[in-house]
């Protein structure tokens, strides 16, 4: 870099860039916060859904699955599993684990109560109704 371009110029550019970027980011965050109520399905955040999210977290589901594409890539996407499989299937599936099929990926038995299973399904139903800009591309997730 040329000699005319000094370190203090570079430092000023850095501080300008840092402040500008964070202010712009905060502005966009503010706008997003205002836009979210129409998109994030918060009207359906029932006590069951809130408890269901807690069940989801307490059992580290994200350690194998993705939810809206985020998480681990070892097991199927669950953001749309309610649409793909339905609530009864999800509950029966979880109660039937692990399959014990030799050599196949195994899902642990989490010993959830009926109430916890219902809450979890309510959470997955709520998640499937978030406006995700039509992601995933198809029902397979």
């Amino acid at each position: 870099m040329s000699e005319a371009f000094t370190k203090s110029t570079a430092r000023n550019i850095f501080w300008g860039a840092a402040v500008f970027s964070f202010l712009l980011f905060l502005g966009l965050t503010f706008d997003t916060t205002a836009a979210l109520p129409k998109r994030d399905n918060r009207q359906n955040l029932t006590p069951e859904v809130v408890r269901g999210k807690h069940v989801w977290e307490q059992n580290n589901c994200i350690g194998c699955h993705t939810l809206l594409g985020e998480g681990a890539y070892f097991a199927p996407e669950l953001g749309n599993v309610y649409i793909r499989r339905g609530g009864e299937f999800i509950k029966a599936w979880m109660q039937g684990q692990p399959t014990g099929a030799p050599g196949r990926r195994q899902m642990p038995q989490f010993n959830l109560s009926d109430e916890q299973l219902n809450d979890l399904v309510a959470f997955l139903k709520y998640a499937s109704e978030i406006n995700t800009e039509k992601w995933p591309p198809n029902i397979e997730g």
């Binding site: 870099m1 370190k7 570079a10 430092r11 550019i13 850095f14 860039a17 840092a18 970027s21 964070f22 712009l24 980011f25 966009l28 965050t29 706008d31 997003t32 979210l36 998109r39 994030d40 399905n41 918060r42 809130v50 999210k53 807690h54 989801w56 977290e57 307490q58 059992n59 580290n60 589901c61 994200i62 350690g63 194998c64 594409g69 985020e70 681990a72 890539y73 070892f74 199927p76 996407e77 692990p98 099929a101 030799p102 050599g103 196949r104 990926r105 195994q106 642990p108 998640a127 978030i130 406006n131 995700t132 800009e133 992601w135 995933p136 591309p137 198809n138 029902i139 397979e140 997730g141």
Partner: protein, 458 residues
């Protein structure tokens, strides 16, 4: 070593390498579970292995950053560390807390661990990379603040250089953004939105400042190029990092319920994220070419150049591959993401920590550089790990392309698990590359125990 208190860096570096070994072993377990699904089930289910793999990575990199700061700051500030004793106490606190957390993951079912550690009071667990129990998270904050106090006091009483300013800014940013890990609203979209304020603003924001400072420090030392020149580069690089990376957070806001305009903001700004990484590559090579001395520690020079190249490839190129919204629509949350994650973390953060360790460890052991024999073995470790990581990335990329096609692009999309069966060839190849990586790591560690002719201390 110019200041006695720099010696506290040594246990940090040793712990970092030890935890690195653990990280790789659990990585191999997971890699095998991808193809032999019931391997170690139910003793170590995949989610537990993954938690250990990623959390060990984070913790050992933090050990590396802290060790780097304890080594660099006294030398840059031209004064002894504010409190070497505090640094040593924090070392043991962090190590014991980290070890207990990992043991908790391995020995107690996660739901029970959550219950035992107060997750019902303030739920923060069960989110990717932020799986740590509440007490561990609080512990991280306490250790980070005490560490920052120690480092900041040292900088304040001594010479202030641009390298330490940037390092401090990065480290404070790391601590501040971690606070968002305590915010976990029931609203999933808000949860995800602010989760990225920890994860993205760490790895594509403030951590890059730390990376830049570490690289600049080592380049000043091994090339003898004028500090003014190197620090000028550093400022320009991190300016580009923040210009592209902060709004670049938007590439995570495409499909999680956030407004559609993020597809524009995220695509455009994150498409520019390779620029600072490319500048870092040019910077490293430029400085080494203009070197005013031939430093006897050629292994450290190799690691510094390697960081420049691999960070650009892993974070820059492999990030760009899937960062544009129309492409990400198909690749989001696939093996493409995994491919990028592996090479980016290795190329940027693993390699920069190994760079500073390579430079500082001989000095901490009382010599300017290791013997030629030891350096050759270290370089073998460098090449084995780096080349095998390239192959891990290529195989995961191939798996990701096939997965994306079969599951999302094709007219007759296949279910997830059927697609996974089709990918097993690539998963086996990845696992094999992972074994070579482990061999490389063992070779690297062996280099510390090779004596040979040592050059005289400076």
């Amino acid at each position: 070593m110019q200041y006695q208190s720099q010696a506290v860096a040594k246990p940090y570096f040793i712990a970092a390498i030890g935890l690195f070994v653990g990280q790789i072993l659990f990585g191999l377990v997971m890699g095998l579970q991808y193809v032999v699904g019931d391997f170690l089930f139910p003793e170590i289910p995949f989610n537990v292995a993954r938690m250990v793999h990623t959390n060990l990575l984070i913790v050992w990199l933090l050990f590396g950053f802290m060790g780097a700061a304890y080594y660099m700051v006294p030398e840059e500030s031209e004064t002894e560390l504010h409190s070497p004793k505090l640094a040593l106490i924090l070392f043991w606190v962090f190590l014991v807390a980290g070890a207990l957390t990992v043991l908790g993951y391995l020995l107690v079912p996660y739901a029970k661990l959550a219950e035992m550690t107060g997750n019902n009071l303030l739920p923060t667990m069960g989110r990717e990379f932020l799986e740590q129990p509440l007490i561990t998270k609080v512990g991280i904050v306490v250790v980070a603040l005490a560490f920052l106090f120690n480092i900041t006091m040292t900088v304040l009483k001594g010479r202030k250089t641009s390298v330490t300013m940037v390092l401090l800014l990065g480290l404070w940013g790391l601590a501040v953004f971690f606070l968002f890990s305590f915010y976990n609203p029931s609203n999933l979209v808000l949860d995800k939105f602010y989760w990225w304020w920890v994860v993205h603003l760490w790895v594509e924001g403030v951590w890059e400042l730390i990376l830049g400072a570490l690289l600049a420090f080592v380049l000043i030392k091994v090339t003898g190029v004028d500090r003014e020149v190197i620090e000028k580069w550093l400022y320009v690089i991190i300016a580009m990092t923040l210009i592209t990376g902060v709004i670049g957070t938007g590439h995570h806001y495409f499909w999680i319920g956030t407004p559609g305009y993020w597809q524009w903001w995220g695509s455009i700004f994150s498409a520019m994220e390779p620029i600072p990484f490319f500048m870092m590559t040019v910077f490293a090579f430029n400085m080494v070419n203009r070197r005013r001395r031939d430093h006897p520690n050629q292994a450290a020079v190799l690691w510094a150049l390697g960081t420049g190249v691999m960070a650009f490839l892993g974070a820059g190129v492999w990030g760009f591959l899937h960062t544009l919204a129309p492409i990400n629509y198909y690749t989001h949350g696939s093996q493409i993401t995994a491919a990028h994650g592996h090479m980016a973390f290795y190329g940027a953060y693993v390699m920069v920590v190994l760079t500073i360790i390579s430079y500082a460890m001989p000095l901490l052991r009382g010599r300017q550089a290791n013997s030629n024999k030891s350096q050759v073995i270290e370089m073998w470790g460098f090449w084995l790990m780096t080349v095998s990581m390239v192959f891990i990335t290529l195989f995961l990329t191939a798996a990701g392309i096939l997965q994306t096609w079969l599951q999302r692009v094709s007219d007759t999309p296949m279910p997830f698990m059927q697609v996974q069966d089709q990918l097993s060839l690539f998963y086996w190849a990845r696992e094999l590359s992972g074994v070579v990586f482990l061999i490389g790591l063992v070779v690297y560690i062996l280099s510390f125990f090779v004596k040979g002719e040592t050059k005289a201390s400076a």
